[in-house]
């Protein structure tokens, strides 16, 4: 049951609840950094890392400090500061101890603070923990959910980088050049994700 529900949470986060294409979170990097495949991958890996780390920290803080003290209203302020602090910390640690990794991921870190997908994940897992009735939504589920959200971001970015690569050589009407055609292709990409609706429920039925 535990493994089954974990797999369901993971797949749902990637396919049916894709943060970029279904929930519209993290659109800025999606449109801005998806021009080339390697930057898209670098950005996504950094986002995934921060998502999991942020959830790992914020979930217990909310559940075991904010809720018992009745100060849930500090959630937004606290979470955004925690994320900002974590990003800084990771940047410093990477710079000092893992220079090669910093070279490839470090440049993406500063902008992750204001990436709404990260703050979105930390808040949405709490909502899910509150609303999931079919099984016990635990800390582990929250972490797997965050990982899935990050991988979903990666999948969307990589797919979209591929689509945009094709656009480079296409003959596009002048007024559509740049952002408009990017958005139209994003529409088509997200259309493909609509097809996943309900697939996880059918694949892994949880009573």
């Amino acid at each position: 049951m535990l493994v089954k529900s974990l797999v369901a949470v993971f797949l749902a986060a990637i396919l049916t609840e894709n943060y970029v294409l279904c929930k519209f979170l993290g659109i800025c990097p999606f449109l801005g950094v998806s021009k080339k495949l390697n930057t898209a991958v670098g950005m996504s890996v950094a986002v995934t890392f921060v998502m999991v780390l942020a959830t790992a920290v914020t979930y217990p803080i909310y559940m075991y400090i904010l809720v018992p003290s009745g100060i849930e209203y500090l959630q937004t302020v606290l979470f955004i500061l925690i994320i900002a602090g974590l990003v800084q910390l990771v940047e410093i640690i990477l710079k000092k101890y893992m220079p090669p990794l910093y070279q490839s991921l470090g440049i993406y870190l500063p902008l992750i603070t204001t990436n709404c997908a990260v703050l979105g994940v930390t808040m949405l897992v709490l909502q899910k923990a509150d609303s999931t009735t079919a099984y016990d939504y635990t800390y582990l589920h929250a972490l797997v959910n965050a990982l899935g959200a990050g991988i979903g971001f990666l999948v969307a970015m990589v797919m979209f980088a591929g689509v945009r690569g094709r656009l480079e050589s296409a003959d596009i009407p002048k007024s559509l050049k740049g952002l408009p055609i990017t958005l139209v292709s994003a529409a088509l990409t997200s259309l493909s994700f609509l097809g996943f609706a309900g697939v996880v429920d059918k694949l892994i039925p949880l009573a």
Binding site: Y73, V77, T133, G198
Partner: protein, 189 residues
Amino acid sequence: MKKKLNAKAILIPTVSLFLICLVVTALLALTDNATAKKIAENEAKSKQESMFSVLPGAADFDEIEADVMYLGKDKDGKTVGYAISTASQGYGGQVKVMTGIGTDGSIVGVDVFYNDDETPGLGKNTSKESFRDQYKGLSAKESISVSKDSSSGQTVDAVTSATISSRAVTKAVNEACQLYNDYSQKEAK
């Protein structure tokens, strides 16, 4: 290489940031104090309205299980039925349903009082009367399914292109019926 640590350069930003956080926290606590009661009232009110809408004859409600099951009474104190609040996972998030079950064990009314995470124009249509009224008169003893999934037994037709949301509502109604059955069995003993 070594940077000289200037106490003032560290202290001033730290203290000012700390002060800002302190003031913000104080302001939030103040606002929370002012609004918390109203927010709780709103939530209770929306639930109560929903309870009255699924049990038309009821004038007053007695709590059987807090936030889940309520006993509805008419003006003379006679039992008219039960209002049961259940929730299930829909397409975008939680779907909260209030089910009214009469004393004869049939469903009197169903109200979808929270489905804001469902898609507008699709899943949100599950709160429309044309869909909800299908549950009226069905028996709480047997489980209900969406006609797309099963053709036998008690069925309701799903909202077009919103099978998942329709299933979620049906599941919540079934859960309410189950709670009702468990309760009435316990009472009978």
